[in-house]
């Protein structure tokens, strides 16, 4: 079967590049909004709210994974394997905690990610500081019902972040461009 002309990409050729306009195949799903009450975002939020009864157990499972990574680290020290497992566990918590309803835990996990990711040598990462982060994550989760939770978590996160930043500044002082990248404001638009 022959394809229609509009099914093929159009190409504008220049001296050192081409600009290709692919066929707009998703055009088929775009149409005028006929129902003013139709709100797909609200529907998705409602669907997520139905799922939220599971979030507590999911958060616990992620924290158990982080604790397991900490135990492996204590047994074997920093190796490629223990480093990766710790970073993945912390990174997942950083990305999920707010969605699960535990934003205070996400900030602590973010600090741990920075510590683990940006140290120039993994063997120089202070394990005691890693453990303090993991303990903080577990403590905040355990005490999440406390009325002063946010205040305590904020103070804890600030202290951990300050110590981590100090460590990163000292250990990365020989590569100022990298250091600048670590402390630059994030580029990706948030949720």
């Amino acid at each position: 079967m022959s394809r229609r002309k509009e099914d093929s990409p159009s190409i504008a050729t220049y001296a050192d590049h081409e600009v290709i306009t692919p066929p707009h195949e998703l055009r088929k799903v775009v149409g005028p909004a006929t129902d003013p009450n139709d709100n797909p975002v609200a529907r998705a939020e409602a669907a997520l709210a139905e799922l939220s009864s599971l979030f507590g157990s999911w958060m616990n499972a992620e924290c158990d994974r982080l604790e397991a990574a900490r135990q492996d680290l204590k047994r074997s020290g920093f190796t490629e394997k223990t480093h990766e497992a710790l970073f993945r566990a912390a990174h997942d918590i950083k990305g999920e905690a707010s969605t699960f309803g535990y934003p205070a835990i996400g900030s602590i996990a973010e600090s741990l990610c920075r510590l683990v990711e940006h140290a120039p040598e993994i063997t120089k990462i202070p394990i005691a500081l890693v453990e303090q982060h993991v303990e903080a994550v577990r403590a905040v989760l355990r005490e999440y019902a406390r009325p002063d939770r946010d205040e305590v978590a904020r103070a804890l996160t600030k202290r951990l972040r300050d110590v981590t930043d100090e460590f990163l500044k000292n250990t990365n002082s020989f590569r100022p461009e990298y250091l600048e990248g670590i402390f630059a404001p994030p580029l990706v638009p948030g949720a």
Partner: protein, 181 residues
Amino acid sequence: MVRIDFNRLRFLVIDDNAHMRRILRTLLHGFGTREVYEAEDGAAGLEAFTHYVPDIVLVDWMMPIFDGLELTQMIRQQGANANPYVPIIMLTGHSEKKRVVSARDAGVTEFLAKPISAKSLYERIFNVVVNPRPFVKTKNYFGPDRRRNVNPNYVGPERRKGGKAEMFNEPPLLDKAKVPG
């Protein structure tokens, strides 16, 4: 006002974290999508991409075997699969400039920083469906035009050279790959 008929869109979600896959699936179903396929690492993701031919790919950056960045580069290889133009939305906890530039240069269409929300995911999908960007092919890049806007105040050197030489329609890559007989 424009609406998207999610019912007719096919998604592929590639993330090694089962909780995040479940959240994304829930949000997509909430929007009205029926067809959501999942893969838990880059290799399985590439296989699923070839098999299901999704309209939109949601991919996590950090994954075992090969990560979201490598997977994007594989999908963007012209001639290697049926749809190198597929919109790729990268979900990422990495928001540092260096990381973002790397992902952009791999051919990612949109970024979505975690934690995600229904609104932010919808906005990225809306953008790739309603406002698709042209693709640019250079000696060392193939992917969505990295210039989202024309800056009238730009004063630096023009990196893209040459006047417009020719405009033509190229046969689809899929047809090119077909062997006669």
